[in-house]
Amino acid sequence: MALLEKVDKNIEARAWQGEIPIQSRYTCGLAGEKFFREIMENGRFAGTHCAECEYTYVPPTIYCERCFAKLDEWVEVGPEGTVQSFTVLLVAPDGTPLEEPDILALIQLDGADSVLVHRLGKVGLDELAIGMRVKAVFKPKKEREGSILDIVHFVPVNA
């Protein structure tokens, strides 16, 4: 008799419930510290530029992933940019329908080579188009706390 038994009655199937008790605290890092402070204090976007690769990173990095140079040339980018792609979310992560569609977009800020992920607002679904021009709307200064949510959303430039 070998122990090749199978659980064939559901009543015998047992599961033990538990959790992994972790939470995370992420520093914004050296580049992130400058990026988010610039948004928080001045309502401006800062990127880092690699002269060798002619590439501007937004969000910024302290290094160029292409040539591995240390980046210390900071440039102002945006606040306007171009939608590179978008999606319209109609359901929440738990599957329930959203009252208002949530529009997520990849936005290339003017002067940047990489793109930023953020929300679009004040735009009709029939107006949405890749290539449309948008600009950032920041929270009032005293409500900003150095987070990506200090940007409320991006809205069409002509709105």
């Binding site: 939470q23 520093t27 050296l30 990095t61 290094y63 292409r66 040539c67």
Partner: protein, 390 residues
Amino acid sequence: MGLRKVAVVGAGMTKFVRRAQETGKELAYEAAKMALDSCELTLDDVDGVALGTAPDAFDGVHMKGEYLSDGAGAWRKPFMRSYVGGGTGVFAPIQGWYHVASGLFDVCLVVCEEKMSSCQPHPQGAFLTIFDHTTERPLGPNLLWIFALEMNRYMQTYGLQKKDIALVSVKNKRNAADHPCALLGDPNITVEDVLKSEVLAWPVQRLDVSPVTDGAVALVLAAENVAKRITDKPVWIKGVGWSLDTAYWTNRDLYYPKYVEYAARMAYEMAGIREPRKEIHIVEPYDPFDYKELHHLEGLLLADKGEAPRLTAEGVTARTGNMPVCPSGGLLGVGNPIAAAGLMKVAEIFWQLRGEAGKRQVPGKPITGLAQAWGDLMQVGTVIILGIGG
């Protein structure tokens, strides 16, 4: 086996700190960039990247390997991440080694990173799941239990006292005082300090344990033809070995790490070492707890069973002794960012063999050194042997 010779040609590291402001990517970058600069290579010269890092739950980033890849210099390159618990820091260069030895890459960058401070309220939360979820976790364990249980078994088997073991902590924290990246170096610490420190899980006290740490370390590995072109001081990887014991840790006798012995024998055989005690000149065994250094010296066959404490007491393992052990200051002194801590040990052997270890330099021009790491459920041993000449 038809393997190519592989050399370590460069190394870099960040400071080991309790809480780094840098993101994990930024830490990885600083170490990787320093390693490349040290041997005047650029990213273009790198054929592939081997990354070692502990569970995603520490940094709180799922698919942490992919997240770290650009900071590790892997943009559009072959990239692989390995993880064998605390053994990772020595396994990652082994993985880099076989990619070069096989002929697949000429230059492989090896990077190990850990940012444990992200994990709140304590990284132990991420460690808890190493205990069996159904048969052990309901008992309310914490990570210290397995170390305390193993340490007690080791002490009982050989009739050791706490003071015999505290000597390791004192030696390593003193050594670390000469390491520019160390978190817990202390030139004046005494055995009394260790014995008087807070009891956490007897026999483990506060100063028997290495600290929670953030940091990164990187090495550059190169095939013989490349290595000889870029440096006149290549440090060759002479042997590697690794072995894993069963996860049923309560079914084994914890007094002796048999799996470390298997890993060591594999590495000695590859390196052609028949008398390790004569042929290994410096050792960086894994020391997350002070007794582990002793345990590992015995598993590495560098001390008879139960005799490592005596070697320590007699000064054999001091930086100026016949067999310097943890001249870096080890995890107890430099710090313990899991995977990065293991790779720090390999970097230390590299610097020592090249005579570049500064104030930590051991006398006597060592030519062969060994680094070892350990982890999982007291289960894995990873060993690498480095040497100059030949």
